[in-house]
Symmetry: T
Subunit: 70 residues, 12 copies
């Protein structure tokens, strides 16, 4: 088992449809600048309300990625 070092970044993904979609949006956006992403942890789930409806899911998550190629 190689002793890699990982960095964690914190993002808030948003979606008008679901918690899962908000997380996926954050992961996809992060992949534009970060390589070697391995795991995520949901930190907080919030959202915006418009009238009597949930208008947006806002999910804060941490993403861990390897600082070294594996």
């Amino acid at each position: 088992m190689t002793n890699n070092v990982y960095k964690l970044i914190e993002l808030t993904g948003t979606s008008s449809t679901s918690i899962e979609d908000a997380v996926q949006n954050a992961v996809a956006r992060a992949s534009k600048t970060v390589r070697n992403m391995r795991w995520f942890e949901v930190v907080e789930t919030r959202g915006a309300i418009d009238g009597d409806n949930v208008a947006q899911w806002q999910v804060t998550l941490k993403i861990g990625f390897s600082l070294d190629d594996e």
Copy 2:
């Protein structure tokens, strides 16, 4: 930026289908008596089990609404 004051109320929404639906049910029910709802925060996710199935999602959330018209 106007310095409004917001009140937070805590609700538990339930649904037999999903976490998102439980939250939406709570928001819709609150809208019958509360105006100017702006945001929510999920506090706890629990549920009931019947046999070998999740029978109900029970999601506790806080809802923030403006005490003043905006």
Copy 3:
């Protein structure tokens, strides 16, 4: 109201599709060896990333079940 005693066990269910499915998988698996399950509480939501996608949802939950028939 009978004064039953309940035991809580902690499981991590996984799913490639959703948080709800990961919880359901854990409940279904537990039902093979545990009877009288009553409720669950989500403790943590994590997951694995593959490239720019969420590859797996990993949801840790506690399940409460009655130690006595009801």
Copy 4:
């Protein structure tokens, strides 16, 4: 299983005798204005000291009640 929505309110009950009595006092007082109370959760236990004695138990609890008749 009907998908009711519940509201949680937070109270501090007090008693000179016990934690249980402080909770009961809060529940009894709430019942004057709230119907359909279902459960409570103890949030904090504090108290006042007079000389070398506990003079008052102050127990903060959340009470959940159904917003719909059941």
Copy 5:
């Protein structure tokens, strides 16, 4: 020592100048509809940023008030 029961409500006060002012604004606004307020507890301190400046302090607090005259 009379065994009063207290209710706690949760508010977010805002201010463009300071944390103390945001709390004071919430207390003053609550006093329009609530009597017998006794204490508060700061729960969360957030804010909005505009350019390179703090534009607004948003302080969430709980306020405890007696349900009975004292």
Copy 6:
């Protein structure tokens, strides 16, 4: 000092009379299948309400027991 290993299990004891009785009920029930119990820690105190009364105390606790005879 022998370096034993202990296991912790989590139970919810219930009682219509007191928190202490709910804990004692859980400990007594656990003793039917677990030996060498040493300590407990209260994790959560909840309960059921019937009308204007506390109908049941529900106390979740962890119990630690030695995996080895001492």
Copy 7:
């Protein structure tokens, strides 16, 4: 309102009978060396088990006392 300064000390009181008695024992013991005690907060409730019984309640609390005469 005088702007006193208070000190908090942390104690674990024990009792073979109840949580309340364990707290009272800690307060009474503290009063031998500390004056002007005003309030306490329960931090943790644990205990010892002997066979199938709770043998001792161990309650950790903080006690606040004024550093100045009032």
Copy 8:
């Protein structure tokens, strides 16, 4: 509502005068390299003492900024 993704960074701002000033210093410093900052959350408030005085306020905060132009 556009589904932006936000990144959160964690900073400790310092000031010899106030908590608000320490937060403002962190926001101003961050603005040198980060655009589109939207909100902050105070995580921790500490400080240094010199003799009998607070010598420095050290406030740790998270700042959220949009990864996309809005």
Copy 9:
């Protein structure tokens, strides 16, 4: 770097004007009996309300001081 040992004490400072002043009051009061104070951490911010005004800020903090001269 000398390996000193530090002790932490917990105090509640009060002030009718600000959070900072409440902390400063606690530090100043502690300096009457404690030497070598180095840092503090804010633990809780509460207060008293009189009518529609914040009457007193009550800030609980931990103060760390060296047990050895440096």
Copy 10:
């Protein structure tokens, strides 16, 4: 990626020498009755004192193991 279900158990390992050794003792003891252990999480680090020395490290950890062969 197979969607396994994992169970978490909580143990307290002890050692007179180090935190790492206490964890290793718990893992080794658990391996006598549990197969397919995958990961652990340290929950709490405590210990016993004898005179002026640490006499025993007591580390509570959760161990996750697969309920299915992989």
Copy 11:
């Protein structure tokens, strides 16, 4: 089982070599002025960095000691 009362004090021990050594240093230092120490709990693990090395381990712990001879 005698119903002793215990006091908890909070210390930060430091060491250039290990977490265990930092705890041991705190226990040894405390033994100069405190008798009847029984247990400790690690509260926080921090440290100082010098260049690319950990220069010092700073471990905050609580120590419980009996206020009565046993």
Copy 12:
């Protein structure tokens, strides 16, 4: 005392030998791209199990570094 601003980054260091070594590996790796590192805080200690042995220590920590030369 200069009012510097510090940034905190979160890393997971790994090691097959000890918690201290995992932290040191993270600090050493971070030093390749970050200057002026001052302190760290351990956030979480986890690990991987292989058979009946701890195979890897995985320690998540925050590292604080000055954004300005000192």
